[in-house]
Symmetry: C2
């Protein structure tokens, strides 16, 4: 083949690829139109649901919708996982675009007071109550002297102040109307519940919404509920959270607090130490990221995110409960013991202990591997820590 | 309104919702058809690219494609992030459906020998070379006595045996053809490179593919490249990995090994200790998961996944380099010091140290927060650890 021939062959390929890319572009343009059309329908559904106090997130409908499309996809030679991932991503969007349209579950309830409603979680709650057309008032520090007047007509009082002020604020509450629901949203439950039951004779419930300010609402998020008193009389609040999409997990305050030692204190504390360790070892961070496997980029992102947030929030969570220090000390000791195994070169003992943990995890280990694999693929899709900051 | 009226109103709503759901189903069915049509076009593109040795993953084309659809979406009132996420997910699928169609970059290269080609990473490499129509032979333990005959016509020898056998295997290599490329894919680079340079006079390169067997190939994955000798003569291998979609990160073996102390040893070791800690504290795992925030479920998944894998693999990585023990000991000491701060109740000192780490992370902290937020939303989309195992 002479040079002219090679050139024209090259032009042919370029043209051919260009044509295919045109087809892809046309299909992708159709995709955007389809998303726009779908949004119109889901908005209309949101309006109907709001008008009739129906929950926006219906797990059964979601499961059925996905199952139908998976089987259609597989029949058409398209990956079922692809279709499920795309649908779930679309549904997330449609849930949140219906955000402004939440139903109000009980017409007889009106006055909601959020103490600390200007904070991160407080704002989320205020927004949700307002979207369901409640009358919401916020009490901040400067309003505290007037609390008696501000609280006298309350149907529900939600305490959403920082963890280390919670019990103090509750103990300073004036008498509330007898029907009023008193609730807090702190990340410990035993102590606040105790004080709430003392200061108020009406319905009392301890809540812990298990999500940070990252979450754009309550959809699919766990809210832990610890009963205080007269659960029938705060059921409207539980129902309201279900309308907002929450997954309610009812438990004892003591069980909750024990679990939080792992879920919050242990996690935040070791992340803090890991960050300190990095800072003091001082590796080149951009070099480290350039090298990283998806799993390490994910870990680094989880460490780094802590330090983009308010230190006082984490100091409060970590310092709140001295009981947790013993748990941290046991971790510290185990870390030391594991180093000793490493130093002695005793690989057999390492493998033996590894297997013990594997057995303890049981079937969950495989589930973790399977689910985390999907997350790592998504980390790559989303270019996690791949763009310069 | 009498009861009949209420009943018929309810029927109306049910019918109305039913109609809307029908519209959603019709749109979702169109979506699946669209994905099937798109797959046909991307397969055709894959064939053209293979025939002409062109890379499948072209970052610029990807960026341009996404930018176009984002602006179309925003003009149509659809979230740009939604469209980008959906497109990236679709592209992942199309990259991998083209997997069987990789081009071969150099027609003069034929015989590839993968020593340890039956292992997890070995299999991935064998599959990739085969998909690019190389002649691939695998040498396993039982073939080792015949290595001289098996290696005499090799154009490239890739050592993919477990880390603790790597230098031994390399030192036992017979003389290779002078043009043959000798490479290893172990997770340390200094020692293997050293031995490779000793046993072979031709082109030598140390590689570290930064991904586990989770990754269904090399697309978008980092491969660390440490030069040994005669880089011009192994460029075809680098080019080949680029065709497979790799992101090449060239560096010194010493820099690589230092980074791996963090990325692999530190990470795997502390995950191991955390798993042990959980096992010994013995909380109710399903209760813990039921309680968990998305961020804790993600952490738990990352811990649990370790214990669904082979203990020897991690033992080898962790025990391989005694230099890393000092790094682990410093972490252990910092953990102890942080507990002391906690015990003394010195919140101010905690906050001060927190701020130091925040400053060390600099702009990366915000990037971590932003990127991890997307990951946590995806964790919820994907029901991470939400289904029973």
């Amino acid at each position: 083949m002479n040079n002219n021939g090679a050139d024209s062959a090259k032009t042919d390929i370029t043209e051919q690829l260009q044509a295919y890319r045109g087809e892809i572009d046309a299909l992708d343009a159709q995709l955007v139109e389809l998303l726009a059309a779908r949004k119109k329908v889901t908005s209309a559904i949101g309006q109907v649901k709001r008008a009739h106090s129906m929950p926006i997130y219906v797990p059964e409908r979601e499961a059925e919708l996905i199952a139908k499309r998976r089987s259609q996809a597989e029949a058409a030679g398209v990956s079922g996982d692809l279709v499920e991932d795309v649908l779930r991503r679309m549904m997330r969007d449609s849930y949140y675009s219906q955000h402004a349209n939440y139903a109000k579950v009980d017409a007889s309830i009106n006055n909601i007071v959020v103490i600390g409603g200007g904070g991160a979680l407080g704002k989320v709650l205020v927004g949700l109550f307002q979207s369901s057309t409640y009358q919401v008032s916020v009490i901040e520090k400067e309003d505290w002297p007037n609390r008696k007047a501000l609280l006298k007509d309350a149907d529900a009082v939600i305490v959403a102040v920082p963890i280390n002020q919670t019990t103090q604020i509750i103990s300073e509450l004036p008498p509330l109307p007898e029907h009023c629901v008193l609730a807090d949203v702190t990340s410990v439950k035993l102590a606040p519940l105790d004080v709430m039951l003392k200061v108020h004779k009406g319905p009392v419930v301890g809540l812990h919404p298990m999500f940070g300010p990252d979450a754009p609402g309550m959809i699919k998020q766990v809210v832990v509920v610890c009963d205080g008193r007269r659960s029938d009389d705060y059921q409207w609040l539980i129902q309201q959270m279900l309308v907002w999409g929450a997954q309610i997990h009812q438990t004892l305050a003591s069980t909750h607090d024990e679990a939080m030692a792992f879920i919050q204190v242990m996690r935040h504390f070791s992340t803090f130490v890991y960050g300190q360790h990095l800072q003091q070892e001082n590796p080149n961070l951009s070099e480290l990221i350039a090298f990283s496997s998806p799993i390490y980029r994910l870990e680094l992102a989880m460490v780094g995110r802590l330090f983009a947030q308010a230190p006082t929030l984490y100091a409060d969570i970590i310092f709140n409960n001295v009981d947790n220090i013993a748990l941290l000390k046991r971790f510290h000791q185990r870390f030391g013991e594991a180093i000793e195994i490493l130093e002695s070169g005793d690989k057999a003992s390492f493998i033996e202990r590894f297997t013990e943990v594997e057995n303890w995890f049981g079937d969950y280990a495989k589930q973790c591997l399977r689910d985390s694999k999907q997350m790592l693929l998504k980390a790559d899709d989303g270019q996690l820590l791949r763009k310069a900051p």
